[in-house]
Amino acid sequence: MRATYFLQRLSQLLIVIFCVTFGCSLLLQLIPVSPAEILLPVGSPEERALLTKEIGLDRGPIGYYVKWLSEFVRGDFGDIYYSGGREAVSSRLVVAFPRSLWLMLYTQIVALAAAIALGVWSAYRVGRRADKVISNVLFVFSSIPGFAIALVLVLIIGVRLQWLPTLDYQPYSAGVWEHFKHMIMPVLSLSVGLIASYTRLLRADMIATLREDYITMAASKGLSDRRILWRHAFRPSSVTLFTSAALNMGGLIGGAIVIETIFATYGVGFEVFAAISGRQYIALQSLVGLISIFYVVFNVIVDFAVGFVDPRTRDRRVNK
């Protein structure tokens, strides 16, 4: 039963990847100018014709897509062209990807840790002062865009106080503290909004769970509040939280464009931006394809994680 479900789900997600990438290549055909013209603004017609053939644009939309796909699955994500040369997207990703990955991981860890603590506490104290303060402060933070927080941090901590560097990224190899020093502000800017939204999700679900009969039942067994909160209430309340966290993964990998630009972290998001502003449509298509694969992979992972957290869903989804 579960194997059938797994295959079903996987095929749905493959359809999503297909649609995203195929949609991308259709958009490419929509551009009123030949991409070769954009990529080689100073090239001769012969050079452009050669490039058109190399990319596969002479084969029509489907032929082009098939060619792109066969190269994509082999790890050839196309090239980025600039005056006087070209560079493989994959070689740029080798640099950019780890940066985005760390950024995403730290952000999620910080956001989840804070949200679980705050969410459980405020649900336990619902309606009391602590809950109200937490909820209102987080509400305000959830409405302030990440870039605004980033700019204010840069101004105060980076420029005025000079505590942390405002630009650039350092790998682990440059020293652990160096690495973290460059990560603190971007991670904070990204996670403040997430903390707020995660906490709201968890708090709402926890409050609903705490009203369930099985919590009263647990209380009538003579268990302590701490045990009831963590052993009985947290797990069934955390499904929405983890689902939404997993769905953010793709966005954090490829969508943290503004933050990566402000702090010059130059991860995948920045590569996407560079591809768009440099009209590198083939590179863009590969990058968007990669991001959607990320989205899909985390979708599958979270599906099974949810099945572990809440066993009811294992059978419920079979019934749907």
């Binding site: 039963m1 059938t4 479900y5 989804r317 079979v318 019934n319 749907k320």
Partner: protein, 329 residues
Amino acid sequence: MAGSGYAHLRDSDDVVLALRDIVVEFRVGGGRVVNAVSRISIDVRRGETLAIVGESGCGKTTLGKAILQLPAPNTGQVMFEGTDLTKLPKEQLRSARTAIQMVFQDPISSLDPRMTVGEIVGEPLWIWGRGSEADREAKVRELLNNVGLDPELVLHRRSYEFSGGQCQRISIARSLALEPRMLICDEPVSALDVSIQAQILNLLQDMKDRYGLTMVFISHDLAVVKAVSNRIMVMYLGKICEVGSPDAIYSKPAHHYTSALLDSVPVPDPAYQRNNVALQGEPPSPVAPPTGCRFRTRCPAASPLCAAEEPLLREVAPDQFVACHHPRL
């Protein structure tokens, strides 16, 4: 041919509704199929109240909705006044449905919370463009009066301002607006408090007399059914166990399941003694029902024959039919 048999069907002119070999199946994940209703045939005479009784999951509600084609049965005929509803095209079915109306179990879910009572009760008239606006309002007032609500007080209020019993009255008024000839009541009182149940049951009885209705009354509660019905059909796991008049079935049930059901009903009398041991176990899954007689896994009288062959309905007493190899009569 295996089936539930046709011995209980009556061949007379006043049969309004005749169901023939109704099968309703639901697909669940993993290619499994739930046999909610399997090959049920039954008929209802004009002015009669047929009660369909059974525990949860026996398919009684599904059967009731299949009459209205909500959803349509997978196979089988639904003959209503001589027309087969399963064969009607969409538009004709739409108008055919007006002759059969339904009262639902959940009085709150069956009323749109954003509409006033006047709009709710008048809606069927609006759909079919019956009469002018003034005619319709007069009709709505009359209906509300008939179900025991004061039109002046309720007309402009919304359903969530009312209690369950009042909502059920509104729901009944709505179902009568099109002057249907048949009313299907799906557990109309099981969501209500005891003191309110009797009010609604009496109201249904009154409305039946006033509008000359034929009724199908679906319930899990044998006591409620006894109060309202002329003929009873007991269901178990999508099949008919027993069909007959209430007096026959309640005084000398022929099917072991019917008898077990009757024995399980709590009686409000401390001196009352049960004569049989309670039925053991719970109904098996409708995804993989037992072979032969579906009740055999819990039946005190089960024999190898019951597993091998499905019992057909046969007459054991005048107007009492049972599908059992070893009936109690």
